[in-house]
Symmetry: C2
Subunit: 366 residues, 2 copies
């Protein structure tokens, strides 16, 4: 009879209880484990009759292969890691969806790690690295460079929307150019006391947006004001609104680092009786769902977030399979979405996939 290295202790009773192995399946089908493996991997040639016998055995035993054993043998985890700060708001979720979807198409599973709330991120990343073939990290996810260093060279790493680092691949959405366009648009409404709300030092993409904000001013020989440095958190909007209402800062337009902030500020200003955009214009970034529902509609910038995630998964996969590291970051174009909050004639509402847009671009930096 077939090989029987494994006495399979539980074999005599309910073999499927603890878990059938390739041995039990082979035994049941009356073939060798090599044949079972061949049938399951679809590799090699196995006669139709034998194939059926094996499949039947698999079925009867409810055989679920042990991934670890396969991974060890083929030396591939067939899994990608994704490191994000957290998941509030649509940005990260979209990214994750794009990533998961492409990874799945490529036959890779995705292991997610959230950094927020974790005490020892370096340790967590190292841990993650033991289970996956490659890792994508969101730029702002606080990943100590040391860890990146340790990982890089061992496993492919890609940075999403972060500052490109020597020897590590990056993908991101265009920021500077579109921020400049957006700012120019606001300036075009005759506003002159614009304020950038958000912390340019907080995250690489915010920094780029601020750069665009500054560039738009310089292009018109205007002096850009100092940014109002606040973190993202929703609550911050209130604080900013208070300062404006109290007259501590004066402005006729706010260019916010993201929609959450913009929405919160606008809402507070309106509650206090201010007219948006009459008294003050407010624009955001991200085009979250709420931005379509508020009155006036929020003028903002839409990023191809899902595509970004998919691209990261794709590149990781290619790298795992031998592709060379791409030195230049891949930059995806964004879209400026004009609604009413910037001072444009308010329209009642946009059809969800708004088209009244300006496209600002660039792909793969020169």
């Amino acid at each position: 009879m077939a090989t029987a290295r494994k006495p399979a202790a539980a074999g005599s009773l309910n073999a499927s209880h603890v878990g059938a192995t390739i041995y039990s399946v082979a035994e049941r089908a009356g073939v060798s484990i090599a044949t079972v493996s061949r049938v399951l991997q679809g590799a090699g040639t196995v006669s139709a009759k034998t194939t059926q016998k094996v499949l039947d055995a698999v079925d009867e035993l409810d055989y679920v292969p042990l991934g670890a054993a396969r991974s060890l043998a083929v030396r591939h985890h067939e899994a990608h890691g994704l490191v994000l700060p957290e998941l509030t708001g649509p940005y990260y979720s979209e990214l994750l969806m794009g990533f998961e979807s492409r990874a799945a198409e490529l036959g890779q599973s995705v292991t997610l790690m959230l950094t927020e709330g974790k005490a020892d991120i370096a340790r967590a990343v190292r841990q993650l690295a033991t289970h996956v073939d490659a890792i994508a990290v969101l730029g702002s996810a606080a990943m100590p460079p040391a860890v990146a260093k340790a990982l890089h060279g061992k496993k492919p790493v890609i940075i999403i929307a972060g500052s490109p680092q020597e020897g590590i691949e990056s993908v991101g959405a265009e920021n500077v150019h579109s921020a400049q366009k957006l700012t120019e648009h606001v300036l075009g409404h005759g506003r002159r006391r614009l304020l950038f709300v958000g912390d340019p030092d907080g995250a690489p993409d915010i920094s780029e947006r601020h750069a665009g904000f500054v560039a738009a001013h310089l292009a018109r020989d205007l002096e850009p004001a100092e940014p109002v440095r606040v973190p993202f958190r929703e609550g911050e909007g209130e604080a900013v609104a208070e300062r404006i209402l109290a007259g501590e800062v004066s402005a006729d337009a706010l260019v916010c680092a993201n929609d959450e902030l913009a929405l919160s500020i606008m809402s507070h200003l309106q509650d206090a009786g201010r007219d948006v955009p009459g008294d003050i214009a407010v624009v955001g970034w991200d085009d979250v769902m709420t931005s379509r529902y508020v009155r006036p509609g929020m003028t903002t910038v839409r990023q191809p977030v899902r595509e970004l995630g998919a691209l990261a998964a794709e590149r990781l996969h290619q790298r795992v399979h031998g592709a060379e590291l791409l030195a230049a970051p891949r930059i995806l174009p964004t879209q400026v979405i004009i609604r009413g909050s910037c001072g444009c004639a308010a329209r009642l509402r946009d059809a969800p996939p708004t088209r009244r847009t300006t496209t600002s671009t660039t792909s793969t930096t020169p």
Copy 2:
């Protein structure tokens, strides 16, 4: 010299290039692989001096253990699978955050799978099962019972917010009771032509909410109207609003299956000049961020979604470590959040963590 079963082909050149193994670390530290393992696992007793030698070697070689090998040896993946339909809206993200966070605390990594867009879900779940110790599935994620069956018994499975199935553990948020309370509240405003918007057959929790809606009517000897069966998708709100505006259906209050739907409908009705809640009240479910920003604020129900995720991770972990299957579903209490859209005196805005609430409860069904 120490064991050298492995000639470690690349050993002579840059050993860390392809990846150091426990053998190369052992060799470099001048100890056996068992000692290296002991140091890394923190198991057994190893002298301080030896420990340091090993740690140094690990550092110098940038050693990252191969998770698969460990998993194979210990017969544990130390990973939990989570199956969700998709990730739009805050619900799934919150759930995922709660799940990931608790799992991480327990030392488990999480592998995410999204069913939306996948052709062969059964195959995907099977695939997932090969890499994880246990799986949590969102109730409405279309997971063929056959798959559940195959998995159950082999690996612990838990259903989140789904219809409990014999032999499979479940966790969920309370629906019936809070839906009844919410409906009663609306009836309390004198409304009599309430409409339930959403498809009770679409998902188990919607069905429960509808049951509460019906119960509230029966408690007052009122006849509940037939539900307006529409899927969740944001676009559907418009269609419903059109039907109301066209007079095809008449109602003075809408009890919607979730906030997305409620918000969309309310927005369309307002655009058409209808007064909410004056002409018609609208209430939702989930307490998404937007519900705090719209005017009037959306009256809704808040679920402890994050806790739900954490609980699922926790139970899975316990089950993996031998805990018995819990027969009764664990039900977490929810909170009815009263704002203006139900007809209550509109207030300008709520402090984000609104407190003007009714708490509706129950834990672990009798």
